[in-house]
Amino acid sequence: MPEFLENLFTNYYETGAVVIFGIGFTSLLMHRNLLKKIIGLNFMDSGLYLFLAAKGYIAGRLAPIITDGDADPTKYVNPIPTGLVLTGIVVSVSVTAFLLALTCRLYDKYHTLDIDEITNLARKERD
């Protein structure tokens, strides 16, 4: 058990990322308000990106911007996770905008943000 905790402490960025992912997942499941659910989804995104970027970091190395023509790969951190996360951030803002637009339409129709109430009203409408 001490070894487990020690490992967690060594990988502190990954631990933080996983905890943020879990909190986001919890608020995605537990909240009935749609906006809170969307914020929870964004937290999950951020946790995942933090995990990826932490995997690309190498202690004591610099950002992958080559200065003075010195293209020695052992001087720079891993650029691949940065590129992946850059893609992910832009995709997540698109997904957020789409979800918010859906929320607006749901509010226009049912005048509430509570997912249970919306389900209830939709069911009554269908029956």
Partner: protein
């Protein structure tokens, strides 16, 4: 782990929890904005300045703005303003 990094990570987790705890939607969106800004500092400590710029512009800027626009569209901000006005009037009386 330096103290700075520990503080930043702790702040991230506190932000994430407090969004779940707050009842006011406007407050939770402002907390989300703060979360994104802290995130962009963390990208800097992880030697990823590209991500820092993108997160500050997209995460803290545009995403929060879209949330605010949604709140405005569903009248949540107006309702809170009205509530505040009522309370102020009560206070004056």
């Amino acid at each position: 782990m330096t103290l700075f990094e520990g503080l930043l990570l702790a702040f991230l987790i506190i932000c994430a929890i407090s969004v779940s705890v707050t009842r006011n939607l406007l407050e939770s969106i402002i907390i989300y904005m703060g979360f994104s800004l802290i995130m962009s500092v963390i990208w800097l400590t992880l030697e990823a300045p590209d991500l820092a710029i993108t997160e500050a512009a997209v995460g803290a800027g545009v995403t929060s703005l879209l949330f605010f626009a949604t709140l405005k569209k569903i009248h949540a901000i107006k309702a809170e303003d009205a509530k505040q006005k009522d309370e102020e009037e009560k206070h004056e009386k």
